[in-house]
Amino acid sequence: MRAFAELLDRLSLTASRNAKLVLLRDHFANAPDPDRGWALAALTGDLVFDAAKPAFIRKAVEARMDPVLFGWSYDYVGDLAETVALVWPARPGANREPELSEVVDALRGASRAEVQRLIEGWLDALDATGRWALLKLMTGGLRIGVSARLAKTAVAAVGPVEVSEVEEVWHALAPPYDDLFAWLEGRSARPTADAPGRFRPVMLAQAIDEAVDFGKLDPADYAAEWKWDGIRVQAVSEGGVRRLYTRTGDDISRTFPDVIEALDFDGALDGELLVLREDGMASFADLQQRLNRKSVTDKMLADFPAGIRAYDLLSDGGQDTRALPFAQRRGRLEAFVGALKTSRIDLSPIQPFATWEELAAQRRQPPPGDPALAEGLMLKRWDSVYEAGRPKGPWFKWKRDPFLIDAVLMYAQRGHGKRSSFYSDYTFGVWSEAVDGSRVLTPVGKAYFGFTDEELKEIDKYVRDHTVDRYGPVRAVRADVRQGLVFEVAFEGLQRSTRHKSGVAMRFPRISRIRWDKPAGEADELATLERMLAQMEGR
């Protein structure tokens, strides 16, 4: 338990992805079986307990100490698990610290009443970090900033093997994954991946470099499709098992019963999850209403009907089609989708073109209908096999040009890790009219990348030289008509938002240029954003 607790403790304060990978990899390489397997399951969300409710924990601690002192402590710390971990008045004579596997075995086997007695004994035996980890584990949800994908990437590094290889076998495995570790350490053969309904690691596209790539590519070698603005999914239906996965292999079947019901086939489809209405696809904002929900209501199913726009076929009636060239897969996909009797699954059409110039014109001015909502184009080599990961060459994404707006820097916040000595996170605003008729800046977004290291130094200096107020790690920067720093901000789209004062939220904003030359008073108006939003909605 100690090693696991110290791992969680470090992860909870580590921002850098690389540093997290080192911590995780070292743990998976060094912790014994089956503890490391249970740790992996806890991190990937495959081991969730609700053995102890917060109310029970609170009662247990208040039976041992003055509730007033506990109340003050909780007020100060603000997190129940952490407070209890710190204040727990341990009774002497506790047993040795439990191993993670002992805790897991007990939680899985024991009755609720027994578990509650065990918990107090464990809390007595552990130190503060151990108690914190135990309470996090028991109350469900570690929330330490590690995704299932990151945990799998770290475990793959134990081999090392590619993370896609771990993903390929993942859905045939069960905690505590003894067979996975045995394979990674060369003690046994690779576990079988033949579980019906399993996830296949996805193939990803490189971003195209217009200046370099087009000169070398023959348009006849490539198919073009629109890049749909939803989320990438894999829909699998095999031997009665139906599953919907995200591109990292997270199972989201429960959130989309309407889609699962439509998977009346035997095979595995690669496609885009969208809200599909009779008149075509809806915006990403509509799809967001359906994402990350624990439960789905009938009203939500009716208002935001989900479907799949299919663009690849990975398995067809029990045959793995991934080794076939794209042209052949496409032919089979068209027949496969054509045979389905559902309106929830349609086909992503091929956009014909003869020259790159012609395609560029279509990208600039998409035909009316769904393509007008697309994020850009996808290019796929007709002869490409379906290969996990992001190989260079077979597939490219060619995103539409971003929207641009000139905004004024209003607040700057200290960064994390490498950037902790820099003010690197910027809140920017555009002009709007106050009640009294004066021009005021309204914040419209936040960005923390898009600039070079050299530019970061210059902005950091600007922030320090023009600070007008400080709130902890945040500095308010002078921003008025006469003095202010203008950023050209690039973004992918706009959505209405009640959570933002401006009423709009930007998707994927970043700093595209620093306009040292531009007077702050000439930055854009909120009305400009509102016009852009109306255009996007009206398409």
Binding site: L13, S16, F70, W72, V87, A128, H416, S420
Partner: protein, 336 residues
């Protein structure tokens, strides 16, 4: 029996002893001051006469210059100085080099001003000595049951393990310039880290002073170098304020560590962008504060500064007469 308030009472300048005519740790210039230890909020410049341990006087001279007071009266540990029937004895407090409790005795009444103190071992200063007394006047910086400092050996091991796990990064440890920095260095030496430890310029003078007083710190070097990579795999000690300062940009992808009792609370570490909190404090934690009162069983407990309400509550529950003095001006181990 005399009322304790006749011997010591709170005044805006600090705790005042009327029969002996002196203040303890006054926050404004006064004629006669007893100074418990060298931290800036307890030891200020500009008093007429300062009575303190020789080490504390040396620290004050180092920080403020030789003319920091009109005159000084060094009182080594265990020795007393008397005036008008009031005896003041300085007894180790275990907080930092030279730190002392002021034991004030008059007409059979004994009052102990703890100053800042801790109960656990510290390789840089002698341990706290409990003195039986009628009134114990305690600090309460960490006077809340959430503050329970782990074993410092465990915290140092955490730092060394991280150095091993991230050999290409440097480890930048924030530590207060007086006491904490030297304690961290000494603890690292005890744990077997015998390589050069790099230090921020602001620590130089106090490091020398500690060494002059017999605290060996091993090989130290200024944290200046022409190439970033020289600091990969190294440990650097700096005052907390320097961690997020432009100064820290010279190090390769530093792991920010901070040695402080406040690091016990995760949100505090997160706020400061600390990746590796080291819960190492020079103050008594909750268990030490309460155990000390339990051990001394004074007639009364007075609390000078810190989170007094929780300690008051605890004293109430344990039938110990207690009062909070709510002295202002002591901000030891604050955020910056």
């Amino acid at each position: 029996m005399i009322r304790p308030e006749a011997l010591l009472c709170p005044r805006p300048e600090g705790l005042y002893c009327a029969p002996g005519d002196f203040f303890v740790d006054p926050v404004r210039p006064v004629t006669r001051a007893v100074v418990t230890h060298g931290h800036a909020d307890h030891a200020r410049a500009g008093h007429g006469t300062v009575i303190a341990t020789p080490q504390t006087l040396a620290i004050m001279a180092e920080r403020y210059g030789a003319d920091f007071a009109g005159s000084v009266q060094p009182v080594p540990y265990g020795q007393s100085v008397g005036r008008d029937g009031v005896d003041v004895t300085l007894v180790p407090a275990g907080h930092v080099l030279g730190s002392a409790q002021a034991v004030v005795a008059w007409k059979g009444l004994t009052m102990v001003v703890s100053g800042d103190y801790k109960r656990r071992r510290d390789p840089t200063c002698p341990p706290f000595e409990p003195v039986p007394c009628d009134v114990f006047i305690s600090e309460a910086t960490f006077g809340l049951p959430v503050f329970r400092h782990p074993d410092d050996g465990h915290e140092i091991a955490k730092l060394l393990r991280s150095v091993q796990q991230f050999p290409e990064r440097s480890h930048l440890v924030g530590a207060y310039a007086l006491g904490k920095a030297q304690r961290i260095i000494a603890l690292l030496r005890e744990a077997g880290w015998d390589r050069t430890i790099y230090v921020h310029g602001a620590l130089d003078r106090l490091n020398h002073l500690y060494e002059k007083h017999g605290v060996a710190l091993g090989p130290l070097a200024p944290a200046t170098s022409t190439t970033k990579q020289d600091f990969a795999g190294q440990i650097i000690i700096a005052p907390p304020g320097a961690l997020a300062d432009r100064w820290s940009r010279r190090f390769p992808d530093p792991v920010l560590a901070f040695a402080s009792g406040w690091m016990q609370v995760r949100a505090r570490a997160r706020q400061r962008g600390v990746e590796l909190p080291l819960v190492i404090s020079d103050h008594a934690d909750w268990d030490e504060l309460t155990a000390t009162v339990d051990e001394l069983r004074p007639g009364e407990l007075w609390i000078t500064h810190g989170r007094e309400e929780a300690l008051l509550r605890w004293a109430q529950l344990h039938d110990i007469k207690a009062r909070a003095l709510a002295l202002v001006g002591y901000e030891d181990e604050t955020e910056d």
